[in-house]
């Protein structure tokens, strides 16, 4: 049986696809603007393998960028939870920087690092980093007084214990944010590939765009959706395992 996320994607994809076909046949548009079903099917057969590899390449970079963002956000979040000046500085900086669209900075990264893995990774990581950081700072800077009180009064509190208590108490929130930011990591990687890449599905879409080949783009979109859904399903499954483990006797 298909997972909820996958069939939801399939429903949305085919609804969009049906709408596109409706526009084509109702307005009598040529195959050059919107390709026919036969042409899409032929493109799918021809490029499915190639595009699947490209999507997997993109997904690998997205996962790497996602993990990198989680690590960075955790470290900065731990410092940002502090009540001294460095904590306040990091919180204010994070709130201000996240308001700036990272995509707009992407060309600078391309100019400085050129096209390739480093640019893709950096842009992907930056796009999903700030939402993660804000959530982690929010969780880690909020005291869980009813648990922390004992450790404070008996002078047993240290920063590791404080982080552990706050992360444990908000584990559901953290897992939801991590799963949610996975989509952003994928979006970030594809955006990076539009601008600065020599591989990946974003790069393939850019070529298809130059060729005005909508059939290729539709095949690419299908594969992106399926692969992202599978990644999200995996993260949700991981989240359930973690929740069960920390909640069990």
């Amino acid at each position: 049986m298909l997972h909820r996320r996958i069939y939801q994607f399939l429903m949305i994809y085919f609804a969009g696809f049906a709408a596109l076909m409706l526009v084509k046949y109702s307005l009598n548009l040529s195959d050059y603007v919107i390709p026919s079903l036969t042409e899409i099917w032929n493109t799918c057969r021809r490029y499915f393998g190639l595009y699947l590899l490209a999507v997997l390449n993109t997904l690998a970079v997205a996962i790497l960028g996602h993990v990198l963002s989680i690590c960075m956000a955790t470290v900065v979040g731990i410092i940002g939870r502090l009540t001294i000046w460095i904590g306040s500085f990091i919180r204010v900086a994070a709130y201000n920087i996240q308001a700036y669209p990272i995509v707009a900075v992407a060309p600078i990264i391309f100019i400085l690092l050129g096209d390739g893995l480093s640019s893709r990774l950096l842009i992907a990581a930056m796009i999903c980093y700030f939402p993660l950081l804000l959530s982690i700072i929010g969780v880690l800077s909020e005291p869980v007084t009813e648990i922390e009180h004992f450790f404070e009064s008996t002078r047993r509190m240290n920063w590791q214990l404080q982080v552990k208590i706050r992360a444990f108490e908000n584990s559901h929130k953290l897992i939801t944010v991590i799963v949610g930011s996975a989509t952003l990591a994928m979006v970030g990687t594809i955006v990076a590939e539009f601008i600065a890449a020599n591989a990946g599905i974003g790069y393939s879409i850019r070529i298809a765009l130059y060729q005005s080949d909508l059939a290729k783009i539709l095949v690419a979109l299908f594969l992106i959706g399926i692969c992202t859904s599978v990644y999200l399903v995996f993260l949700e499954w991981l989240g359930i395992i973690i929740k069960r483990r920390i909640g069990s006797v």
């Binding site: 009813e146 648990i147 009180h149 004992f150 009064s153 008996t154 047993r156 552990k164 208590i165 444990f168 108490e169 920390i246 909640g247 006797v249």
Partner: protein, 230 residues
């Protein structure tokens, strides 16, 4: 061992209403004492002042021969990743390890030891929380409704056990139950609204320890005094 509060004035930040105005009172000997008063009169605020959590007040709090002051309240929780036993074992100082078993048995916590805190009933949670504080090194323990949701028989058993095990320590028991305060406490500080002066009235309780019989007439008299004072 002495606890003395002199001319305490306090207003909550951002509020214009006084909580304390010229509040003075004292406790001069160890024992199981009570802090009694209607809701909102400032019992918890006073407890936090004694524990050092609230510092922005005027007046003097003098605590002599009481190095470790602990404050516990009934909404506290244990970390969720530990079982009760693991947590108690972790936080009990080595010299108090022997006492842990005794308290666990007296407080009826044996069946809860392998459970996590969230799996316990409210009464069991409060007993567990109180147990871990009793296992610490303290001179004054402020118990803010620490035995809420505990049935009367178990509550009596716990209080008598505390009095037997810690005769040289000072306890300040915050409760709304006039019967248990009158019955078990030695000195009862009745806290009143700041409109009334003096704001705190000290009364003698029956200090029942289970060894001598309790005189109903004296208990009723004491309860009446507490209610009148409040």
């Amino acid at each position: 061992m002495q606890l003395e509060l002199r001319d305490i004035n306090y207003t909550y930040p951002g509020s214009s209403n006084n909580v304390f105005r010229q509040l003075s009172c004292q406790v001069t000997e160890p024992g199981f004492h009570a802090l009694f008063g209607p809701s909102g009169v400032g019992k918890t605020t006073l407890a936090k002042m004694l524990a050092g959590t609230i510092k922005e007040f005027s007046g003097d709090i003098r605590i002599k021969q009481m190095e470790h002051v602990l404050y516990t309240y009934n909404l506290e929780r244990l970390p969720g990743w530990y079982s009760v036993h693991d947590h108690l074992a972790q936080i009990t100082p080595p010299p108090n390890r022997r006492r842990m078993q005794e308290l666990v048995e007296s407080f009826g916590l044996g069946p809860c030891l392998n459970s996590r805190f969230a799996q316990l009933s409210l009464g069991q949670q409060n007993r567990t929380n109180l147990t871990r504080y009793l296992l610490q090194d303290f001179d004054l323990l402020i118990m803010d409704e620490s035995l809420a949701n505990v049935d009367e028989i178990t509550k009596e058993k716990i209080i008598l056990k505390i009095k037997a095990l810690y005769p040289d320590r000072c306890f300040l028991y915050i409760s709304h139950n006039v019967v248990e305060v009158a019955k078990f406490c030695r000195q009862i500080l009745v806290l009143r609204s700041y409109h009334k002066q003096p704001q705190a009235v000290s009364l003698q309780g029956q200090d029942f320890d289970g060894r001598r019989s309790l005189q109903e007439k004296h208990l009723e008299q004491c309860m009446l005094e507490i209610v009148n004072a409040a």
